[in-house]
């Protein structure tokens, strides 16, 4: 199809998050706020009104003291491919093509100026990855000074979500063009803000289809799984955990069913 410009290299960016490493410190969240001009209000405790592109959840294994275990699970937008390539749950429902599956990168785009705020995509997203701008964004005092020109501040009434820091990809690409090596972008040249911020190196980011990238190997690990994989959303974000209960907590199972990981463990 005409989807990919002739001069563009095709990639499929994705993330692998090692849940055994994640400490739940929220550096990724804060780095994301700062990187992506995410607005805040004085009241942020009602999480379903709060804008987060990546959010760290706390999972417990449900066992009583002292056999309790905790696992932290950072959840960005999963950049789903959907049932067939590009048929992401949110993309197919957007009536105005404000969100689209970016074929050259495998990232789900979101164009705030096209979005008119119908929120159908939010209804379609099982991960609650999409957030609506219920209020006009306001930065108190002269905090507007720290806003980055790489990411447009959103206006009231539109949906926003994690973009895998697409502007960093653009930045890397611009640099590559400037240096006369178009489309040749090294693995370390494009990393998301959260990946870079994670103080315990729990997040790995790269081209899932490129055997030279770290994520390629990690996503094929036997400890790898994805969130709500059974919905056929086909996320580009993988998780790693050696703990069986974490695998179970990441998807829904009927009583007699088991995650593939547990079956493997028992075998």
């Amino acid at each position: 199809m005409e989807k990919i410009p002739s001069h563009t290299k095709k990639r499929h960016f994705g993330m692998v998050i090692d849940l055994d490493k994640c400490t739940g410190c929220a550096s990724c969240m804060v780095a994301c706020y700062s990187e992506n001009n995410i607005s805040f209000r004085d009241e942020e405790s009602v999480k379903m009104l709060s804008t987060n592109w990546i959010q760290v959840f706390k999972l417990t294994n449900g066992k009583p003291f002292p056999d309790t275990e905790v696992c932290y699970l950072p959840k960005p937008c999963m950049q789903c491919d959907g049932k067939h390539f590009g048929h992401s749950p949110c993309v197919s429902v957007c009536p105005a093509v404000a969100t689209d599956f970016d074929y050259p990168t495998g990232i789900v785009s979101q164009i705030y100026t096209r979005c008119f705020g119908c929120r159908y995509c939010m209804a379609a997203c099982p991960y609650h990855a999409r957030k609506f701008n219920w209020w006009d964004p306001v930065w108190p005092a002269d905090m507007e000074k720290y806003l980055s020109p790489d990411v447009s501040p959103r206006m009231r009434g539109v949906v926003e979500k994690c973009t895998f820091c697409y502007h960093r990809f653009q930045r890397a690409r611009q640099q590559a063009y400037n240096e006369g090596r178009p489309e040749d972008i090294r693995e370390d040249e494009y990393q998301t803000a959260c990946t870079q911020a994670c103080p315990s190196n729990a997040i790995t980011f790269g081209d899932l289809d490129n055997p030279d990238h770290a994520v390629y190997k990690l996503k094929n690990s036997r400890y790898a799984f994805r969130l709500l994989e059974r919905l056929n959303t086909n996320p580009s974000v993988y998780y790693l955990s050696t703990r069986e209960w974490v695998h179970r907590a990441a998807d829904n199972y009927l009583e007699h069913e088991q995650p593939a990981f547990s079956e493997e463990q028992q075998a």
């Binding site: 689209d100 050259p104 501040p153 973009t163 653009q170 930045r171 611009q174 063009y177 400037n178």
Partner: protein, 218 residues
Amino acid sequence: MSTQTDNTSNTPSNDPSPKKGATGWVILAFFIIGFGFSLLSGWVGFPKLLYKEVPHPIDFNHALHMDLVYDGCDSCHYFRKDGSFSGSPTLDECRDCHGFVMGINENEEKFAEEYVLEDKEVPWNNYAKQPDCVYFSHAPHVKGAEMDCATCHGDIGESESLRPYQENRLTGYSRDIWGWNMSRLGEPEYAPRMKMMDCVNCHVEQTDSKGNCFQCHK
């Protein structure tokens, strides 16, 4: 009621009764008046209302500067190391030459007095200024596709005086983006128009693709 109809029925066109009212021609005339008025006000008056002329802070003479610099456009509009484009030069960059009043002409004096001495950045009007939602990088176009400046910016580099700059009162856009012709017909002589589909059309020609949303939006 019926009698009235009878009275007037013989001379329907010459002597319209008060009840019968105007004839078809008169009605048509009114229609044309309304139609014409709307067309006129819409095509002529409305653009004047919609756009406001913003005076240039300095009537910059590109031609004059081109003669003085070594590196063409790149002398003042250059790529930074990271591949970003510098755009209009900052006051500091102008200062390299304009440290003091040289007294070349009125504009130069004005520039030196109002900006250099006052240490104030010049609020240049940018004809090609895109809104915040647009991501545009010069590097792929100039370095990758080896396009000339004039392809998009017209012959501004050779101009001796800045052409008028108009701003859309509603959107704040430069009038160049939509094009000076309200109907967007024909090619403008100053430079190509810069609405989204103008970019897309060129991309389709050059890359066989409309491009992706994120390619140009942020």
